[in-house]
């Protein structure tokens, strides 16, 4: 048990910092506001720039310099970093609030999945996907398949040397700008096999006739994702990733070696929120209020202990365990985030619900962040699902 990483590992951090200082564009260095709810539907200009050019260039630069996925070899945008070095990388990027990409599907899900499950031709797509040259969306959730993802019914019927796809995906991030879709489809109907045994992953080109992308405006007014309708979409059979009916395994395929550090951003976010809340309390003259003091201290305690838990999870992950800690962290940080944004609104009193460019503390940033945060306890495994997972898979309670 020790607080510090080795000198060699700290040198890795210094190298990264030097690279960022030299090569990161001002937009990246400005530091992302974690509370940002996405592109406003009304904001025409930004709508065209869901992935602005500076972000595309920055991702390519990271890749070319081996800083995109440090744990990968250079040809995949990395530098063969060790697990601890990867953690340090994620620490530093989180600390400086620098995004490595504005679209995660390519590098975080598709690239690694193709490397693990794809055939030789598909594996060649991995590098450009990680570099961001190919923009992907993931076709997973459906109106009737959210938490019960295996219940998906978008159908892919074999017809000679191709599949005909019919169905609908929902909450598909980046569908508006993606060139390809990593799509989970049903190849064996529900009445013929258990639901998760009839699922196949297909690579679908988004410019294939029959695909209709309709952006969904969510509660903040932003358009982050879309519905995607498939009507008789023809997909070549060689676009199957892995084997037919064996696609469920691939839901597990992702940047497995970075799982030990995924929590860093969420913790950095709530850490920032606590700092911001303390500053806000002072601005409103509430720093002597006993109730407020207790709330802020409790928030600090939760953030600090979750941060420690994250590192503890990394240690067990680095030693080969499946690290259940990430379920704890997803659950706890998303719930805590919601609490903190709401507290920010509370501290503002009457102006807490004001969203006005010229009125209210920070012009409604906290109210907007609170609304955005509803998604965090729903998406990526809802809090209820996380608790189910913790109870059954970690605590061993019966199903």
């Amino acid at each position: 048990m020790r607080l510090e990483w080795s000198e060699a590992d700290e040198a890795f951090r210094a190298e990264l910092d030097e690279f960022i200082d030299e090569c990161a564009p001002p937009e990246a260095k400005a530091g992302r506001d974690f509370t940002d709810g996405g592109v406003d539907a009304e904001d025409r200009e930004r709508r065209e720039a869901i992935i602005p050019q500076w972000a595309r260039d920055w991702q390519a630069t990271l890749f070319d310099h081996g800083w995109m996925v440090p744990g990968y070899p250079p040809e995949l945008g990395g530098r063969n970093a060790t697990p601890v070095q990867t953690l340090i990388y994620m620490e530093e990027m989180a600390r400086r609030r620098i995004p490595r990409s504005l679209h995660f599907p390519g590098y975080a899900i598709v690239g690694p999945s193709l490397l693990e499950f794809g055939d030789d031709a598909q594996k060649t797509l991995a590098a450009p996907s990680i570099r961001g040259d190919i923009v992907w969306c993931i076709g997973m959730s459906e109106p009737n398949a959210g938490s019960d993802l295996a219940g998906l019914t978008t159908r892919a019927t074999k017809d000679g040397d191709r599949f005909i796809v019919n169905g609908q995906k929902v909450w598909t991030s980046y569908a508006m700008v993606a060139q390809k879709c990593f799509c989970y489809v049903r190849t064996t109907p529900l009445d013929r096999a258990p639901k998760h045994k009839g699922i196949t992953v297909l690579i679908i080109d988004m410019d294939t006739p029959g695909i209709d992308v309709r952006p969904i405006k969510h509660i903040t007014g932003a358009e982050d994702f879309a519905e995607v309708f498939f009507t008789d979409v023809e997909v070549p059979a060689e676009n199957v990733v892995g084997t037919v009916d064996d696609g469920w395994r691939i839901t597990m395929g992702s940047l497995a070696h970075e799982r030990g550090g995924l929590w860093l951003q969420s913790v950095a976010m709530v850490q920032q929120a606590v700092d911001d809340l303390c500053a806000m309390a002072k601005r409103h003259g509430l720093e002597r209020d006993g109730g407020v003091r207790r709330q802020l201290a409790t928030a600090y305690e939760k953030v600090a202990s979750l941060r420690a838990l994250g590192y503890k999870g990394f240690s067990s992950f680095a030693q080969g365990s499946s690290a259940p800690e990430h379920s704890y962290l997803k659950l706890a940080t998303s719930e805590l985030g919601k609490e903190l944004w709401e507290l920010g609104m509370q501290l503002q009193g009457p102006y807490g619900a004001v969203v006005d460019r010229e009125r209210g503390d920070e012009h409604g940033r906290w109210a907007r962040a609170f609304f955005v945060s509803f998604a965090n306890t729903i998406a990526g495994g809802s809090s209820e699902i996380q608790r189910n997972i913790i109870a059954t898979r970690i605590l061993g309670l019966p199903r």
Binding site: Y300, I390, A391
Partner: protein, 329 residues
């Protein structure tokens, strides 16, 4: 921060666990309710481990966590986690050597009449652990001056919820021997984290008891552990425990490394441990239902330990107030 345990640390933990399994059965703990000498055979086993109080706090915490799980009564905590470090810090090497060897049991009289663990000059100290049965009591005044005097068999016991930790009032003797001055803040930080580690063990005992019960208890033809309400309760208990565990050992690492974050880390550790232990206590009894509400069932012994520990060396609320002082200065 790196939480992996060295082989030696794993050994400390495993040794503690099997030692307490063998020598601290719940029957011994129960016997102590009416007869304090019931813990003497346990002390005979634990005395060779007092030496952990002289070394890394992480190692002591690993040992104490197991003590907390077993609800171990007796003078071990006071001697190893309170008295030995204080004697050492005050330069009382001869006394420290005897305590370390397990040849003298000892405790510290620190909290004043208001019960707060803050340095003071009150003539009567309270919440002095095991004061009537230890060989030596170390007294601390407001300037960190440490004096020693013999144990006080006639001391007035302060009735506590917790049967496993006996608390007393002890008058500061006029003729106590001065052994030196100690940096009180550092000593208290170490002691608080040690207590928090012990609390983790108690929290774990309660959590694991509830999980086990939920797996076995059948109602409506199924184990109650298959009901989502029970599952979600236990998931939340588990999260609270895991984050407290990490916070406590982070604080222990900070103490050992004299890291600048130590002050905040200690407050976080005690508050988190208190939250975890009391939550586990409440949910454990709820999940056990009627049987958990009986004197005969062992559950209440752990609940008592959890709550008394929450109130010792600063409640979660007190530690939050100290954090607020630091965050909002």
């Amino acid at each position: 921060m790196d939480f992996s345990l060295s082989d030696e640390q794993v050994l400390v933990r495993d040794t503690a666990s099997s030692l307490l399994d063998r020598h601290c059965p719940i029957s011994l703990v129960r016997a102590g309710i009416d007869d304090p000498s019931a813990s003497d055979p346990l002390w005979a086993q634990l005395r060779e481990w007092v030496v952990l109080g002289d070394g890394s706090l992480v190692d002591l915490c690993l040992f104490l966590e197991e003590c907390g799980s077993a609800l171990a009564p007796g003078p071990y905590f006071a001697s190893a986690a309170l008295a030995l470090p204080l004697a050492r810090a005050a330069g009382g090497d001869e006394l420290a050597a005897r305590i370390q060897a397990g040849d003298a049991t000892a405790t510290v009289a620190f909290a004043g009449e208001d019960g707060e663990w803050v340095a003071n000059d009150d003539p009567v100290k309270t919440f002095v652990l095991e004061a009537d049965r230890v060989d030596t009591i170390l007294f601390v005044d407001v300037g960190g001056r440490v004096t020693v005097a013999p144990g006080q068999p006639g001391a007035r016991q302060v009735g506590s919820l917790d049967f496993t930790r006996r608390l007393f009032e002890a008058a500061v003797p006029h003729d106590a021997t001065v052994i030196g001055t100690a940096p009180v803040d550092e000593w208290l930080a170490r002691a608080t984290v040690a207590l928090a580690a012990e609390m983790l063990g108690t929290a774990r005992r309660l959590k694991d008891a509830a999980i086990e019960y939920a797996k076995q208890r059948v109602q409506f033809d199924v184990p109650i552990g298959s009901f989502q309400a029970i599952q979600h309760k236990l998931a939340d208990v588990s999260v609270a425990f895991e984050r407290a565990w990490s916070a406590v050992y982070y604080a222990a690492m900070c103490v050992d490394a004299d890291d600048p974050d130590v002050v905040r880390a200690v407050h976080v550790a005690k508050a988190a441990a208190g939250a975890a232990a009391t939550r586990a206590a409440k949910d454990a009894i709820q999940i056990h239902g009627g049987i958990g509400y009986t004197w005969e069932h062992d559950l209440h012994l752990a609940i008592r330990r959890a709550y008394a520990s929450e109130h010792l060396m600063g409640t979660s609320g007190w530690h939050h107030d100290r954090l607020a002082d630091l965050l909002l200065r």
